[in-house]
Each structure stands twice: as C-alpha cells, then as structure tokens.
C-alpha cells in the first residue's frame, strides 16, 4: 500500500492556487519578504553556472540573511531618532531612487 502511495505522491500536481493564495496571506499575516534580481557581474562572465547555483546554495543564502540583518541594524543605528513611520517612508523613497 505504501508503495502505491509513494507512486501517487510522485505524480506531478500543480499547486499554483496554493502558491497564489499563500503569497496573498503572507502579505497580510506572514513575515514580509522581498524578491530581488541580481545580474551576473560583468567581471565574472566565465562563471555563469557557479553564479546560477547560488540560488540554491544554503551557505550563500545564510550569508545573505546575515548581511541583510547587519546592514539594516547598522543603517538604523546611524539614522537620527525620529518617528518610525516617517523613517520607513523615507527608506522607501530612497529605495525607489536606487
């Protein structure tokens, strides 16, 4: 029976509706996330495969998470004390300009 179950589980199924619904819920009740597109640096044209593998490289992703944390903490510590709403508004504006 478990072999039949494994076979059924292995069949491809689209979970598009799940992914769409999850994205909607995450916007409201989940931990916010951002998506970025990083291009291969021109100086590294000969390492295309290695660059693309970074997407699934746990070590790289962990380093990136640490970088985001350190970067934001440092940036917030440099900013003068002011109401958070104003601060986030300005941050958005500066992001847009980038």
């Amino acid at each position: 029976m478990s072999k039949i179950w494994k076979w059924i589980k292995s069949r491809k199924r689209t979970l598009v509706k799940y992914e769409e619904a999850k994205e909607e819920f995450e916007k409201i009740i989940g931990r916010p996330s951002i998506r970025l597109v990083v291009e291969l640096p021109t100086s590294l044209e000969d390492v295309r495969d290695e660059f693309q593998e970074l997407e699934n490289d746990e070590e790289f992703l962990e380093a990136l998470r640490r970088f985001v944390e350190d970067y934001l903490k440092e940036r917030l510590s440099r900013a003068p004390q002011r109401p958070r709403e104003q601060e986030s508004g300005e941050a958005e504006a500066s992001d847009e300009s980038v």
Binding site: I4, I8, K9, R11, R13, L15, K17, Y18, A21, G30
Partner: protein, 423 residues
C-alpha cells in the same frame, strides 16, 4: 454474464483502477473508457448512436459549470480569504482556538468552493500563520482536509457527487438541507472533537498574531460587494427554485452569466480556472456507466442488493451508506455516485429518500479515510511537503479512518431515526 457485459465491466474496472492509481490523469482515464464504451457499444449493438449522444447529463454539467463560475468570481473577490483572515484574527493567537476556527472555516468554505480550491486556500492560510507562530502546520492542514471533505455534505451544490444524486433523485435544494443539514452539523462537531483530542497535545503555545485589518485585504471593494450580493441571490434562488419552477441548472447558469456580466473580470481567465479535470471525468464516466447500464448489469446488482438487504429498510439504508462510503474511500466519489444512482432508481418498495440520503452521506464521507481516498488529501500532503513537513501514510490513515468510521456510524443512527426506518 455475457461476453458483451464482460467487456463493459473490464472497461469500467480498468478506468476506476487507472484513475485511482493515477496511471494517467483521471480525465484521460475516463475519456479513454468512454471512447471504448461507445466503440464496443455500437459494435455489439448494445445502444444506438442517437442513444449514445444522450449519455452525458447536460443538467448535471450545467449545474456544475454554473456553480463553478459563480464561486470562481466570488473567490477572486476575496470573500473566502476574508473569512479565513477573520478566523485567524478571532483566535487571538490561541492555538486551540485557531485550530477550531481553521476546522470551522474549512467546512464552511467548502460548502461553496470546490474541495480542492477550498483546501488550497485554507492550507495557505494555515501554513502561513503556523509558520509565523513557530508551530507545526501538519495538524491544521490534515484537519482542514478532513473538514473540507465533510463540508457541503448537506447541500445540493456542496460537491459534484451531491449534484449527480440531487439531479437524478430530483431533490430540491431545500429538501437536501431538510434531510441532511442536522446530520452534517452534528458531524462537524463530532469530527472537530475527534481531531481536537487527537492533536491537542501537539498544538503550540499562545503567541501574538500580527495586527491587521481583514477588510483592508479586499483589493476590489466593488467586486467584493457585487459578489456578496450575487451569492445571496444565488443561495436565495436555490432556496425557492422549486417554487419558481426553475431547475437547479437554470439557477446556476443564470447566476453564472450575471456574475460574468457584473464582475468585469476577463471571462476567458475565469473559464481557464474551472476544474476541467472534474468536468471531463464526469462526462467520460457518465458514458461508461451508461454502457454498463445498457447491459442490464446494474439492474441485476440492484436486485442483488435487495436480496441481501431482505427488503429491510434499516439494513438496506445501512448497507447503502457503508458500501458507498467504503467504495468512495478507494475510488472517486463521482464514480461511486454515478454507479449507485441507476441502482437506486431501479429499487421499488423501499424508502428511496433514505437510500438517496445514505448515498449522499456515503459518497461524501468516504473521501478522507486514507491519503489515497481523494484528491483533497493528496493535495494536503503535497502542500505540507512543500513546507518541509511530511505526514506518513499510516499517520494520516489513523486519524482519517477514525473520523470516517465515527461519521459513518453516526450517520447510520441518524438516517434510521430521521426517516423512521424502525417501526
């Protein structure tokens, strides 16, 4: 059994097997079976070409497609997401309350949406909030699958098998509710209690949920208001369709046209979102069953059923309930409803309303006994896998079969009491 009958039985069984094991997509299995049925049926002169063209019941298809369109528009308006968001907010981060609200919302939402759409939406909400609260999503998603399977048992539009049975038995929307709603709500309570006792030790501690306004999540307020009004009209018309001399499919298709006209959504986008797999499976399998019916085999099975039950109403009802329930736990409940419907139509001298009600309950309740019982459970398992959590076959079967046996046991007592079968 004649050689002609044998061929139709082989086609029928092969289709069931290939659909149950997903050797090919269920729609392909049914369409292949339908093609072979028509081919052999015409070759052996079991039916004529003119007869074969009427094998697909357009009333059921109209009801199914109309209902799907109305609820797809309502789904896009965010009504059901709003329900889920309110359920989470009302729990206040208490995992026990959250569990109960997830169960209730799953059953309520699946009264309207197709089981797979309802499950995917609730699973998305449950995995998101459980991740936020650092909890295991498995108890929520497994319970949601079981409750989604249960929800909508007592309404004509609650599941495809209900539509098949309702149209063939000529049961109106209100008759359906009158016969089955008390049983369904009792089953909700019983099933939730069973699930809660099973999972109460693994539900995590209370944790604050994010502050949010569910209403703010509705992006298109105009579409939301139109959809809400349309749902009220849809349900209102279903409540009185027999008094207005309107057939259920006329109500469904009329409201579908209204939904498409008022929503300003791209109709082709809505049509793409319909569950064509189910529509084609239903169409194909209807042809296969008609082929089987043409050989007189189902009439013989019907006589066999009467002989086994000894014309004893409580026994006949219990056999119908458990037989359809157990069959639906192995194969598609649409196939079970299509097969048993002509059998009940052949029966005379017994309380057929009780038998129809037993078939409704059996075909609905059997769908979440094991992970292989229905597409809803397979989808629940897949969403958990996507989130890095696995629930083993035996783990699910333990809780799924327990809730199914409790549901079928209670339904047996309900049907006997409701229809006064013991004099």
């Amino acid at each position: 059994m004649t050689s002609e009958s044998m061929i139709f039985v082989i086609i029928y069984l092969f289709t069931l097997l290939s659909a149950a094991l997903e050797m090919v997509p269920i729609s392909v299995a049914a369409l292949l079976g339908a093609f072979l049925t028509v081919w052999f049926g015409l070759s052996y002169g079991v039916f004529t070409y003119e007869e074969a063209t009427g094998f697909i019941d357009m009333k059921i298809l109209g009801l199914l497609i109309g209902t799907m369109i109305v609820f797809e528009v309502a789904y896009r308006s965010g009504i059901f997401r709003l329900m889920a968001l309110y359920a989470i907010k009302l729990s206040g981060g208490d995992s026990r309350l959250l569990f109960i609200f997830v169960c209730l919302t799953s059953a309520a939402v699946s009264m309207f949406l197709s089981d797979s759409t309802a499950l995917l939406m609730i699973a998305a909400a449950a995995t998101t909030i459980s991740k936020f609260m650092d909890q295991d999503p498995a108890p929520y998603v497994v319970s949601a699958a079981i409750m989604v399977n249960l929800g909508g048992t007592s309404t004509l539009i609650g599941s495809v098998s209900n539509m098949i049975i309702g149209v063939n038995a000529e049961l109106s929307f209100t008759e359906f509710i009158t016969y089955l709603a008390p049983c369904e709500f009792a089953l909700w309570a019983l099933t939730m209690a069973t699930l809660y006792f099973n999972y109460r030790h693994v539900l995590g501690e209370k944790k604050a949920v994010p502050t949010y306004s569910p209403w703010e999540s509705v992006e298109d307020k105009s579409l939301f208001n139109k959809s809400a009004l349309l749902l009220v009209l849809f349900l209102g018309l279903f409540m009185i369709h027999d008094k207005l001399n309107l057939s259920p499919e006329a109500v469904a298709l009329g409201c579908a046209v209204l939904a498409l006209s008022l929503s300003n959504l791209d109709p082709s986008d809505i049509f793409r979102s319909l569950d064509w797999e189910t529509i084609f499976f239903l169409s194909g399998f209807s042809i296969i069953v008609k082929g089987l019916e043409g050989t007189g085999l189902l009439a013989q099975l019907s006589q066999g059923f009467l002989a086994v039950s000894g014309n004893n109403p409580p026994l006949a009802t219990a056999i119908m309930l458990w037989m359809s329930g157990l069959a639906s736990s192995v194969v598609s409940n649409i196939a079970v409803a299509l097969t048993f419907t002509p059998m009940i139509q052949e029966i005379q001298g017994l309380n057929t309303t009780a038998l129809w009600s037993a078939l409704v309950l059996g075909t609905n309740l059997g769908g979440a006994a094991t992970p292989m019982s229905g597409v809803v459970v397979v989808m629940a398992m897949n969403t958990l896998k996507r989130e890095g959590t696995t629930v083993s076959f035996s783990e699910f079967t333990k809780i799924g079969s327990l809730t199914t046996i409790i549901q079928l046991g209670f339904s047996t007592i309900y049907l006997i009491a409701r229809f006064g079968l013991v004099s």
